[in-house]
Amino acid sequence: MHRKLGYLFFGMAIVYGVSGIALNHHIARHWNPSLVERSESIQGVRPMDRESVGKEYIQEILEKAGEKDNYKQYYFPGQGSLLIYLDKGHINVNLETGEATVIKIRNRRVFREMNFLHYNKPKQLWTYFADLFAFSLIVLAVSGLFMARGKKGIRGQGGILFGVGIIIPLVFLLLYLWT
């Protein structure tokens, strides 16, 4: 059983393992595993009143940013700011100072797909397949405890490692949740 489940869920273990690392660092605010963002400031953009913003001004910014062919629409998220939507990105403009930044956004390949599955975005049948994987992990963990016998088994070295693996999460709970 241990061997068969190991083969069957190899792919799932890789998907959940890799995306698990990615999501850990996403939650720790180290990066966004699903998107790649690249920003670059645009020089020479004139400050402008919101009321005076029009086609000509937008065109001027697009030319300075080299994004003339990628224009979609524009929007005012606040009184002094302008957002120009591009194909795969946008330009932020501070209308009071003329500071402008072009931000290009694209999906991060492989990680996006893995996170898509890890977050259970497909829903429907994927939910049950992922449940089956989770249940199988429990089976693998429990059956794994008794695979080796003797000194390296649960009554020897394996028992110590088993204990350490239980204590470490408990220590973190004690430090960050239960105090």
């Binding site: 068969k4 996403h26 966004n32 699903s34 998107l35 979609k72 629409q73 929007y75 005012f76 998220p77 957002l83 939507y85 591009l86 194909d87 795969k88 946008h90 956004i105 999906n107 898509f116 977050y119 975005k121 497909p122 829903k123 429907q124 049948l125 994927w126 049950y128 397949f129």
Partner: protein
């Protein structure tokens, strides 16, 4: 073993065949974004169809986005539902037509001099301010002495399509 694999493949095929069949655009009621607040009361829990420009897509998972109208004075929150996995970030700046269930959310707001921090502490300790009316009373339009009721609306999208740019 072969039986297990056969069951998995069959389940997969059934699942693929049953996805994205939630097309309820026929029974949906068209509502302009600027009329959501006015018509929201009567359309709550009904299927509505709204169009607008996507002003923002949540970068952390794409589970929600905001739609704005041509005068950019309304922002409507749209959330994914069971039939939509996520909203792609590439939708930002695009015009879309969204069909889904209109959901109303009640928000209590104290009219006293409490600061926001104090309010949060009070709510954390007591759950809800003691003088606030019940949800039933709010729905009936009753008002408490020290609370006012804000109703906000969002759409739980069951389908959407990108439209040609304005």
């Amino acid at each position: 073993m072969k039986k297990v694999l056969a069951i998995l493949v069959a389940a997969l095929l059934i699942s693929c065949n049953s996805t994205n069949k939630n097309d309820n655009t026929q029974s949906a009621e068209d509502v302009a974004l600027e009329n959501i607040d006015v018509k929201g009361g009567e359309l709550t829990d009904h299927v509505v169809r709204v169009t607008g420009m996507v002003s923002h897509v949540c970068k952390h998972g794409g589970q929600k986005m905001f739609l704005t109208n041509s005068s950019q004075d309304v922002n409507l929150l749209v959330r994914v539902s069971k039939s939509i996995p996520e909203f792609d970030i590439a939708l930002e700046g695009s015009n879309v037509e969204v069909t889904g269930k209109l959901i109303a959310t009640m928000v209590n707001e104290m009219e006293s001099d409490h600061s926001e921090g104090e309010m949060q502490e009070a709510n954390k300790a007591e759950g809800e301010p003691a003088n606030c009316p019940t949800e039933e009373a709010m729905k009936a339009g009753a008002e408490g002495d020290e609370c006012k009721t804000n109703v906000t609306y969002h759409v739980e999208a069951t389908s959407f399509k990108e439209l040609a740019s304005r």
